[in-house]
Point group: C2
Chain length 201, copies 2
């Protein structure tokens, strides 16, 4: 009988129930599925780095795009930038928040790699990721609705397409929307990965 | 020595590690945290019922709203319905899909109540919920962007506000958007609850 706090599991009977038995031991002795969990955590870290790239690309592309048309009247110069449309402003803010969150979440992701069974960090990441996937998708969808309108217009509401004039602006904005959707999909993958990591074996 | 397939766990040492020890036994013997998990599963079921209400309300409100103005010209009658705007059509389709999915997910939620440790059903629900939260939020955000435009217009893009004429239509549509956002928040709560249920104690 050892006194180091080990739990000895004696399994008698069918082998099916044996696989469900979790032998909880002291930290020195590894869990049987720690390798799998560490792999998932490393993949999560890589996904986070990719999502930073996508979210930053979306933010900067949308934030820095503006187009001034080469002709102007006495009173007015035709110019388009992201802050002309509230949906695009929301897009920039939401993607900037997502980028910032992703940077701040990297240490927690590293904690999950070092300690694959740290459930607290993993749960915190799931909750924050869920909020962030909503924010990113909402920003991307709202901007996509406006970009679609800018490209095609709407005859029923008498809204004209502005992309005939501002073609460069529309192309940059469309790229930013695609980048934001990619970031959202990466967030969704992170949630699913975290769910697998949290699963009890 | 019994031959019914029970795993006997003998735990010696510190009580902290004892709480982490999962004693996997046959079905007859309950897990120590089964009550908490069952409570979470019942709450998940209630959330699903509420989300069905919200998603169905959003679908029907948006789908059945149309407004015909009392004046008309020789060639044109002024009418607004959801299929005039692609974002609203997407809204109806996405919320209908979410309602259908929620109905289909109820049996799986019941499985999670009856068997709180059935990880397969729980994982399936998390993955599908993540996809659905994206769909619902995207629909709500796209419709919200268009509703905002309909209310306020945009002078930079020369898009006029149409809600001065179609005020009843705009109010119904705004209500539908709010219902869809409520459904999305309920989905997010379900994901967080599932994450807590999946957590290993």
């Amino acid at each position: 009988m050892k006194s180091t706090g080990e739990a000895t599991a004696i399994n008698i009977g069918e082998t099916k129930s044996a696989s469900a038995t979790t032998v909880a031991t002291t930290k020195a002795i590894q869990h049987p599925k720690a390798g799998l969990k560490r792999g998932l955590a490393i993949f999560d870290f890589i996904l986070r780095l990719s999502a930073i790239g996508a979210a930053l690309a979306a933010t900067t592309t949308m934030g820095t795009t503006d187009q001034t048309l080469p002709f102007f009247t006495q009173f007015f110069q035709f110019q388009a930038s992201y802050d002309d449309l509230p949906a695009f402003s929301f897009f920039v803010i939401a993607n900037a928040i997502a980028s910032g969150y992703l940077f701040l979440s990297l240490p927690f992701s590293i904690v999950c790699i070092v300690r694959p069974h740290a459930m607290g960090a993993r749960l915190l990441l799931v909750i924050c990721d869920t909020v962030m996937v909503a924010l990113t998708i909402a920003a991307a969808a709202a901007a996509a609705a406006i970009v679609y309108l800018a490209h095609n217009g709407n005859s029923n509401a008498n809204w004209v397409a502005i992309c005939q004039q501002f073609d460069d602006f529309c192309q940059s904005v469309s790229g930013a929307v695609v980048a934001s959707f990619i970031a959202a999909v990466l967030f969704m993958l992170m949630i699913v990965l975290s769910a697998f990591s949290l699963r009890k074996h």
